[in-house]
Amino acid sequence: MALEKLDVYWPILILMAFGALLVVGALIVSKIISPQKPTELKRQAYECGEDPVGNAWALFNMRFYVIGLIFIIFDVESALMFPVVSVFKKMNEIGRGGLVLVEIVIFLFVLIAGVAYCWRKGDLDWVRSFQTPDKEKES
């Protein structure tokens, strides 16, 4: 065997180092050969030509936080799916496919129940209405 156990991870390290070096190197070269004349106006944040009002690091729409929460739940569940799914073929060949399939379905049922719950609560709507569905129909 030509490779030690951890040698297969070398390319990841090398490529990521290349990526970082490429950016840093280009920035250094750019710093040397490009003009550097910062002025107050040039360094203002862009706000369509007006003077910037306040700070952009302000309170933000809650929808993004809710989307983030839903994503974490789904992402953990799909990460847990990986091992089950990758042994399915072998289990199917030795006749235990049904067992794995039932496991997958039960697991996905939890996911589906999660989607259904969020859907019912209106968390999947970007512009969430606080009206009841009946009132919405009238208006």
Binding site: A2, L3, E4, V8, Y9, W10, P11, I12, I14, L15, M16, F18, G19, L22, V23, A26, S30, K31, I33, S34, P35, P38, R43, Q44, A45, Y46, E47, C48, N55, A56, W57, F60, N61, F64, I67, G68, F71, F74, D75, S78, A79, M81, F82, V85, S86, V87, F88, K89, K90, N92, G97, L101, I104, L108, L111, V115, W119, L124, D125, W126
Partner: protein, 385 residues
Amino acid sequence: MNETIVTYFAKFEWYKSLVKALTETFGFNAEPLMVFLFFFLASFIVVNVMALVGGLGTYAERKISADLQMRMGPNRVGPYGLIQFLADGVKFIMKEGIIPKSADTFLFTLAPILCLVGVLGSLTVVPYSSGFILSDLDIGLFFLIGISSLVGLGIFLGGYASNSKWAMLGGMRAAAQIISYEIPVVISALSCVLLAGGLSFTTLIEAQTGFPQGWFIFHNPFTFIGFFVFFVGGLAETNRAPFDLPEAESELVSGYHTEYSGMRFAFFALAEYIEVFVVAGVAVALFLGGYNVPFGLGGDGILGQFLQLGAFFSKTLVLYYVVIWFRWTLPRLRVDHLMTLCWKYLTPIAIFNLIGTGFWLYGFEGKSLFELLFKSGAAATGGGH
């Protein structure tokens, strides 16, 4: 498993004799050094080719858009304007890199680095041919999904660190979009893992054949839909039109890179074009047969490797063309439609596809639709896999 480019070269006599000669000259075991050197060279080639792909991607984007809008496109720099991207690069590097006064300088510079590092890291497991895959990790697909999240982080960080309202809105949208669309992408990729029974890209591709009837996209109706879910989700993950909400110029000026100029902006663009290639390449590897060549032409030698490279790149570039074509054909989505499409349509469809594929495999003992329809035909062509 864990095939790498080095294990491919290690099969040849010249590699062994080279290692032996070096060991005798240096007086210590030269094998680890050779392994590192080969990985370094191969990675160097990949980075350069991919920078070329990214550069030519910007050229192709302009040329194809010009074609679709009956214009000429770039045609002054070099033959057919082919080296336009080099001229752009020179222009970018000569530009003053402006950092806004109110911005977080460190994060502002870190953002493009994270983007490029994430994209280049994901190139490790992209299978170009059976021999030329930098490192075919056992957890290839899992690794790819994990490391490509760095791009989303970089984009969000860029938007946040700028401390500009447009950039902040763009970054927030990008983060919400990228994480949302990851769910349908992962779940539809899982149905391919069901069929192949492994996460490494070699396993996934060897389970398919050179001809379309053996590709996973035509394996059963569920994977057929799954391919489109994967492709749409992948498009949204790279922030390409019609999902380019994070940089919607009609509402957000330029989105997350409003404050970026010069080289820092150039690396965001480069990362985006390489990521389109990665997404197209992964879609080819998972659903469209990857590097498989009909009848296994060319065998295991160098000729076969080049044929496989040709097969992989031609399929990937066709998808690349489709991505650019979409951008200049379809109008942009509205932000609430974007979230509706992801959570109310693509995610349930992807879950349904996964369960459907599982039942198909269990019910038909892993046979594809083609094998079920033409049982005698499969026998006549030698059965394949």
